[in-house]
């Protein structure tokens, strides 16, 4: 075997390691059997249907989806101006602010959940829902700032000056000239944030409450007392959903450049 063939085999093995488990989950999820096994016993979508039929899971899905969209929008609303300021306006203390704004990236989720529950939510008497939303926004701001800042960095500074010299106000220059050119970065950051929020577990573990549980939390709880293929079916559906989103994004924008 020559070097090149060896290289391809190794790459194949790595890909198998990374992607193989999804094939397993997918297969286990469409099994017709009563218990979770691989290879599956027959093919059926009944477990997928059974998952969809559970009201709690549907509700958790709706909550997770809404939470992901709202927190992503919130993070972008706060993060885009911050990214713009950091990249363009040279505000005092920019480096400190950059570190502050991106700090949620390095702190473990469990710690974030615990700290927020004890020293943010409870002392301020914040309700379960606003608290969950606020924690997700704080977690997502780094993604918004980093990705948007990266696309601003790739955009010439002088086109804004050009617009202003042609009579535009700074706001007009931003919305008519800058915004259309960082649109892809913003969409990429939206997708990244959405998926991050949607899959978030440790923070939500502390901050979810009565009547409001996210899908991954609900799923984690159910794994403990479910031995049929329904959780595999749910996992497979979630995986397919993520894949579909990423595939579309990749198709439209080349998302991987921003990761």
């Amino acid at each position: 075997m020559n070097g090149r063939a060896l290289q391809w085999t190794a790459l194949g093995a790595v890909l198998l390691f990374l992607l193989g488990p999804f094939v397993i989950i997918l297969a286990a999820g469409v099994s017709d059997g009563e218990t979770l096994t691989f290879p599956p016993e027959g093919v059926s979508l009944r477990w997928a249907a059974s998952v969809v039929a559970i009201a709690e899971l549907r509700h958790a899905f709706a909550i997770s989806f809404a939470l992901a969209v709202l927190s992503t929008l919130g993070a972008l609303l706060l993060g885009i101006p911050a990214a713009y300021a950091l990249e363009r306006l040279d505000p005092p203390g920019a480096n400190i602010v950059r570190a502050v704004v991106t700090s949620p990236l390095v702190v473990p989720g469990i710690v974030v959940g615990l700290a927020l529950l004890r020293y943010f939510v409870i002392p301020l008497g914040i309700g379960v829902r606003p608290a969950l939303l606020a924690s997700h926004i704080a977690l997502l701001i780094p993604y918004a700032v980093r990705v948007v800042a990266a696309s601003l960095r790739n955009l010439r500074v002088d086109i804004e000056d050009a617009a202003i010299m042609l009579g535009a106000t700074p706001l007009q220059a931003f919305f008519q000239i800058v915004a259309p050119n960082i649109r892809n970065g913003v969409i990429a950051s939206f997708i990244l944030s959405f998926i991050t929020s949607f899959n978030q577990v440790p923070v939500s573990l502390f901050l979810s409450g009565p009547g409001i549980s996210t899908l991954p939390i609900e799923m984690l709880a159910r794994i403990d007392f479910t031995y049929d293929p329904s959780i595999a079916a749910l996992s497979a559906m979630l995986a397919l959903l993520s894949i579909a989103i990423v595939f579309l994004a990749e198709r439209l924008l080349g998302l991987s450049r921003y990761v």
Partner: protein, 357 residues
Amino acid sequence: MQHARLIATLRRIGILAIAVSGVAYLAYVFFHEPGDDQGGDRLVISVYGVSQDSFRKNLYAPFEAECGCTLVVETGNSAERLSKLAARKNNPEVDLAVFSDFDALAALRRGLLDPIDVSRLSNYNKLYEFARDPIGGHMAVGYTVYATGIVYRTDKVAISSWRDLWSPSLKDRLVLPTLTSSGGPLLLQMLERAAGGSDPTFAGALAQVAANKRSVVTFFERSANLVQLFQQGEAWAAVTGRYNLPLLLRLNMPIAWASPSEGDAGGRNVLVLIKGSRRRALALRFLDKWLSTEVQTAMALDLVDSPANREATLPPNVASLLTYGPEMIERMNFIAPAVVLDHRAAWTKAWNETIAR
């Protein structure tokens, strides 16, 4: 040209309107408390996550229909829910909760509970003795009892005593509850008894577990990944509550409930009212409903909870799977909740030093 600009503007407004209403809808979904639109009251309960489908069918749905209110259900294991309750002590979200008897006592000691006015419970007098005042002061009412014992693969091992857990054929196939789960203290209690001791420090029991810890696949925190462990062939024997037996039997494996000579440990789950709850009357009404003969029977028939109500009568095939009837309840060794609480810190220390590591 002017026309085209108008159309473009209209289209932009249209897209914006769709986006804004989409976001508004999602905000509604997210911030909408269940039951707000029905106009009735909401009752928030905090329970174990197991068998919620049965509870919905036998208890929640009928109750909601009766009271015209909405039930909001928080699920999780005992300790998790207790710690959330403690965290939100000054602004409680939950009206009524379910705990093991000693976690209920822990909640009481942390000032989280209000007494239950049992005179207002129409079903109170139908309860077995063990359920009437399990932690004292009428701060809790038992709703179910479960034996904690040994399930095992009859094709792999034979079990007639708690000491058989340490048989060599169970090496690497034994699953035990971790100390911090409800089953942990019950396990230690039975091991202590099997060794002939009655020392509440459980020194002998802890030493047994420590000596055999290599045999143990895992110490589980949540009872139900037990099913998986059996199904995957990881477990041949496990110590668990009897409420897991029906689930395990559905695996179509030769699994049985052991009858060790020392008997089984008794576990109780209780209902409590959370201090500061604003819907006291509704909570009491729900509590009474839970204890009613019809709900207790229905939950037993679904093989979820063994009844605490003496008037619940079960056919033999169901009864055999549950913790049912005066003799079986007699046979169980209850452990006083106060003993658990008073010694748990010491047990945990010993457990961490000799077993968990």
